[in-house]
Symmetry: C2
Subunit: 253 residues, 2 copies
DNA sequence: CGGTCTGCAATTGTCTACAATAGTTTGACT
DNA sequence: AGTCAAACTATTGTAGACAATTGCAGACCG
């Protein structure tokens, strides 16, 4: 089903940006990533190599390298002779992800906000247009991906490759979190247009060039709605994390 | 020479913390890492798989996974069918590494400085003791590694695994930078005792529990000496980076 | 003499097969 | 009947071989 070798050239879709055909390990990584983020593989579940090789139609060596990549992205965890499991999220993980992500955004704004290169802004606008098209087309998956790209493009304003890479990793893990409480996703749907407005507003403020204003706007952009209803499935968190969540929720919106 | 399979049990050294014998890929990654950071492989040089497998006495699959890890650590870069090269550092890379590293330290202090867990402080003190022992023994390599552990332990005070992992990666790349201007290393030697004093002082301030004081101390702890004499070999940096370096050097110590 | 094309060598990407380890189940003994 | 141990199964770790792609060298042509 999710076979990598399927020729699917996406005839109607916009031309793939990847000119070079990605290697098997990249394709495998992408496939497994989508399985995890799409909910096919749920956190805590074992990731058996043979099963995946059969499903993807590839051999084990490239798959193993792909898994190694996913491990560094934080989506799975591997241990010696025991195989890999989809990262079982605890409250502490949510704490780490949210705080780290926020901090990286802050840093990106501070470093990049009087935007130096116009191309970087272009990238943001392109992502926004993609999002709008996805909203019009009612394409949930495309919207999610475009939203991902938008945030990445905003962080990319800093012109800081390492920062952007770290942010990408965290964003992926954030999606893993959100894959948990998929049921509570519906309410975000009708606010899609409002969401777009917020994004455009943010970008305009960025263009104005005042870092502090951007930071202030980012406050509202935040993950409050996400933190409001965390799935009950994640129990065991450190007391450090629960204390943080308390404070976070107490903080006025 | 650098063969992985050499049984070298380090008879006199303190017992390895790794109870489980690390897998081949971990050993391979460690070996190649040391080759890179030790100057055996210089930035820009090609990393040929077959050569390394012959030197390390292992097969290619584990080596490939090890290289994949090093790529995520930022020490090498791989491209399709073209193999891997040791990351060729530009001034822009130095800019990214230094700024990112500093920011992560800041975040770690903010999150972790009224230290919650005593064990974390213990870890810092242990690292300090290791450094002192290394200074007494005139063991340069051990000192470097202990110093590495100390910084990592300080960041670890935050109890934030992802933060610590990112910091570790950056610290490695920092070492890669310093491997470039190895000639200018001698002057740091006689200041080793002063260095130790600064470290102890930092740790005492941390124990006091005032984040701002720690941040102030970290300012002096900085990379000014490192930025003072950058090797002339790294030329091509972005104008963004050169502007930053200007400002950085203008800033009073 | 410069540019381009073709063939070769080197290196990487992938696959199949084998060895070793961890977890599990079954059996025997207490 | 309960518990410990040993063998077994499933899964991962590693090795060597094959296929595909790239970059270069030399020759050919303009």
């Amino acid at each position: 089903m999710t076979a990598v070798n399927d020729p699917v050239p996406d005839p109607g879709a916009p031309e793939q940006r990847i000119v070079k055909p990605p290697s098997m390990v990249d394709l495998a990584a992408r496939s497994v990533r989508q399985m995890i983020l799409g909910g096919t593989l749920i956190p805590g579940e074992r990731v058996v190599e043979n099963r995946l090789t059969a499903q993807l139609g590839i051999s084990r060596p490239p798959l193993r390298e792909a898994l190694r990549m996913l491990e560094h992205e934080g989506l799975i965890r591997q241990s010696q002779h025991r195989g890999a499991v989809v990262t079982p999220l605890t409250l502490h993980d949510v704490y780490e992800i949210v705080t780290f992500r926020r901090e990286l955004e802050r840093m990106a704004v501070v470093l990049g906000v009087p935007v130096a290169d116009t191309d970087r802004l272009q990238r943001c606008w392109t992502a926004i247009r993609r999002m709008e098209a996805a909203v019009d087309a009612r394409d949930e998956a495309e919207l999610s991906e475009a939203n991902f790209d938008f945030h990445l493009a905003v962080v990319g304003l800093a012109g800081h490759r390492r920062l952007e890479a770290s942010y990408r990793s965290l964003q992926l893990q954030m999606q893993l979190c959100m894959a948990l409480n998929r049921n509570a996703r519906s309410r975000r749907k009708e606010s899609a247009s409002a969401n777009m407005l917020r994004h455009r507003k943010l970008l305009r403020i960025i263009e104005d060039g005042d870092p502090d204003a951007v930071l202030a706007e980012l406050e509202h952009h935040g993950d409050r709605t996400f933190l409001a209803d965390l799935p009950a499935s994640l129990d065991n968190g450190s007391d450090q994390a629960v204390a943080w969540l308390e404070k976070e929720r107490a903080h006025p919106a």
